[in-house]
Symmetry: C2
Subunit: 151 residues, 2 copies
DNA sequence: CACAGATTCCGTTAATTCATCGGAAGTTTG
DNA sequence: CAAACTTCCGATGAATTAACGGAATCTGTG
């Protein structure tokens, strides 16, 4: 069979695990119509295929005192890219780094406890180029990508 | 003690669970120097406090045929905000929605299998205002936010 | 058409992991 | 100083997962 084939059951299992990675396999199996061993085997196969890349805890940033999220865009020149990446890696509040096409070279997602911390980060990054910072007023809950697989 | 206090052990436990939410509690306990029941109790307390908000599977979007990530920014006017949010909720490829301060009102993260799908999404969103789309060339691995808690 | 090989499933059972309990040690409160 | 509280541990029972052997189905081939 081709590598990338997922049937309904696989998708349902992935959805269940994305919603709650601690749902017992017997419970998932019951929902999708499989026994616990069969469900276990499918999960293992999904892991082996690299589709299921791992399991992670969802932390509440606000409850951790990181109540402020910001998006930082950086427009810079080629020679700054490597040093910038290195600097980002060393900033614990920078939780996502994306290299982009278009006007801006990088888009960062940062979580900070205070505006002062954000200022420090922005100042550091501004050494590499032109920075645009936006506060996140509200985020919708991140969507599980089950439905995106059916199209 | 005040609600929001986390000691070294809590942070270590959260880090371990973020790295792999399926690590046995006995193993986590061994690493941080606690028994399995004590570790279990701390995890439960973190859950009750809302700090540990859940557990989720990490899926490999590329392996799922969603190899193209894009960032879409939308600049629009007040009356479009609610309908836009509703529309975003119905688009399975839109996996993150952030409302921003500044020039742009929304920032979206989308995962699509093909450029054609991206075009469809951009066209739909452009009905609400001015759209700026950037392809993501590369993403650094998302950083666990353990170190961000120490400062 | 039959038959080997492969795949995927099930039921059973062993191994692992988790939840619960009673009690000890240390801290805070009155 | 004692009572109440917290957090820990070890032990044990409950739940979950992993590892079988065998049945059913599908695939390709002589």
């Amino acid at each position: 069979m081709p590598t990338g084939e997922l049937d309904r059951l696989d998708i349902a299992i992935l959805e269940a695990l994305q919603e709650n990675a601690r749902t017992p396999l017997s419970e998932i199996g019951r929902r999708v119509g499989l026994s616990q061993p069969a469900t276990s085997e499918r999960v293992k196969r999904l892991e082996d295929r690299g589709i299921l890349a791992g399991y992670t805890a969802r932390l509440d940033a606000a409850a951790l005192g990181l109540g402020m999220m910001a998006i930082i865009r950086l427009k810079t020149t080629h020679e700054h890219i490597k040093p910038a990446l290195k600097a980002f890696a060393e900033m614990p509040h920078v939780i996502e780094v994306h290299r982009l096409t278009g006007e801006d070279c990088f888009l960062l997602k940062v979580l900070v406890p205070t505006p002062g911390q954000l200022e420090t980060i922005v100042d550091t990054i501004a050494r590499f180029g032109a920075v645009t910072t936006s506060l996140v007023l509200r985020s919708e809950p991140v969507k599980p990508l089950g439905k995106a697989l059916l199209g």
